[in-house]
């Protein structure tokens, strides 16, 4: 390793760890300057996390959020060139630090998914007309092999709390959290409608269908899984409507076979 590389490793090591000794060859006169770089580093990351997870901060309070953000910076120093990625793993940090309040990590994961959807790749979704034209000539057995390709910004997260109410209640600084558990397993589906990230809550089985399509499953395979979960009658009734609803929401980029 070159002398410059060693110097840079030692310098960054001293910035990341407040308790680290001064790099080799540095006298005490350099300590105040190093303290400014340490503060710059910590402040930039904490502010980036505050900007991304503003509702999570409102849920737990400023002091608790600051402690969690500082802990995250120490345990998971950033490796990306962009501060936009500083929140990678922060929902998991919340799950660890707020283990008794799983709503915190759930909301954090939702905010992170909304953040990622904001700058996801631009792609035009399949329209109802295109969907109808594509499917018009399908033989009965062609549906089984259908593979809807989902939009690149679609994210699906497990949800055990009413995230719609919680999200809405935390929209302003003086908000009070409206927290309620859901009676059954759900998922939050996040995507970008035009330029705006949005989400809805759906039954868990719909999230499982999304995950299967994302993994390359065919419509027939997804229907079979839905029959296992919902029973044949309900699955038959839901499957076609579900696909039409997804096209209407703009979740489908194209149909493959």
């Amino acid at each position: 390793m070159s002398g410059l590389a060693q110097r840079q490793d030692a310098f960054l090591g001293a910035i990341l760890d407040d308790a680290a000794a001064l790099p080799p060859g540095w006298d005490a006169e350099r300590a105040p300057g190093l303290a400014i770089y340490r503060n710059n580093y910590r402040t930039a990351l904490v502010e980036a996390l505050r900007a991304t997870f503003e509702r999570t901060e409102r849920l737990v309070g400023e002091a608790a959020f600051h402690r969690a953000a500082a802990h995250h910076c120490i345990m998971h120093p950033p490796s990306s060139w962009t501060l936009d990625r500083a929140g990678v793993g922060f929902p998991e940090t919340c799950a660890e630090l707020f283990a008794r309040d799983p709503d915190v990590a759930e909301l954090g994961a939702l905010e992170w998914a909304m953040h990622e959807a904001f700058t996801a790749r631009d792609t035009a979704p399949l329209t109802h007309t295109q969907f109808a034209e594509t499917c018009a000539g399908f033989a009965e057995d062609a549906w089984d092999g259908l593979q809807p390709v989902l939009m690149p910004d679609i994210r699906c997260l497990p949800a055990h709390h009413d995230l719609v109410r919680l999200w809405s209640s935390l929209g302003t600084d003086d908000a009070e959290a409206d927290l309620a558990a859901l009676g059954s397993a759900h998922c939050a589906v996040v995507w970008r409608a035009g330029e705006r990230p949005v989400f809805v809550l759906r039954p868990a089985w719909e999230g499982e269908a999304l995950a299967r399509f994302r993994a390359g499953a065919s419509f027939g395979a997804v229907c079979a899984a839905m029959i296992d979960t919902l029973g044949e009658e309900a699955a038959v009734a839901e499957a076609g409507a579900m696909l039409a609803r997804w096209v209407g929401e703009g979740w489908v980029e194209r149909l493959g076979q």
Partner: protein, 278 residues
Amino acid sequence: MNPIASFQGFGLGLRRPHYADFLDGGVAVDFVEVISENFMVEGGKPLRVLEQVRARHPVILHGVSLSVGSAHGLDQEYLARLRALADRIEPLWVSDHLCWTRTSAHNSHDLLPLPLTREALDVVCANIDRAQTALGRPMLFENPSSYLTFPEDEMPEWEFLTQMAQRTGCYLLLDVNNVYVSAHNHGFTARDYIAGLPLDRVWQIHLAGHEPGTIAVDTHDREVGEGVWELYAETLALTGPVATMIERDDRIPLLGELLRELDRARAIAAGADRTMAA
């Protein structure tokens, strides 16, 4: 590699609180500078905003994460994204800082100072060559502000910048506030620093505010200080007209306040023009 066409005028950084002002049009600036990384994204609103602003104003891409002083080399994915953005926006030029931000493992997201050694100069020049080749254009590099020096320093910063420009053909973005801050922190004379630069390579000037103190800190959170304005006037007397912009990244005020500061820069530049003509 084609040289960068000279461009003189007065501009502001595009910051989120002012998006609506710039999208409405009619903001009295000659160019807009944006933080490159904010727009090196795959899609969504940021790129729409930038394209709409670009339709009204010349744009400069100013980066903070190239890490041209990194002994671990450049991030190829970063370079590819920067190239794609530059091709899309067709900026006046692309700039970054004489600094390093990362090791092979972690990123500081801060502009860290380099030891002013021949070894560091070789690393910087090699990285600049790679970056300029990857982008297909020469770049501007900004002098940093710094809060410590290194025991192994072998030359003053202005000599480092001079050799860097000579060896790579890059241009300089002279941040007058950074010179002022570093001169205060390290005990050199700001005028000596500026006089020691290859002033014919200075293509742009930054003006910003700093927090005074035993160690002055380059905060970009307040108006330009009087000492910096004086140094700006003295700089222009040496360089002649240079594209100038006001940088504000924190406690961002209403656009009108920044435009008033830009008017002051215009007035100082006009005075320097008259002095040079006489």
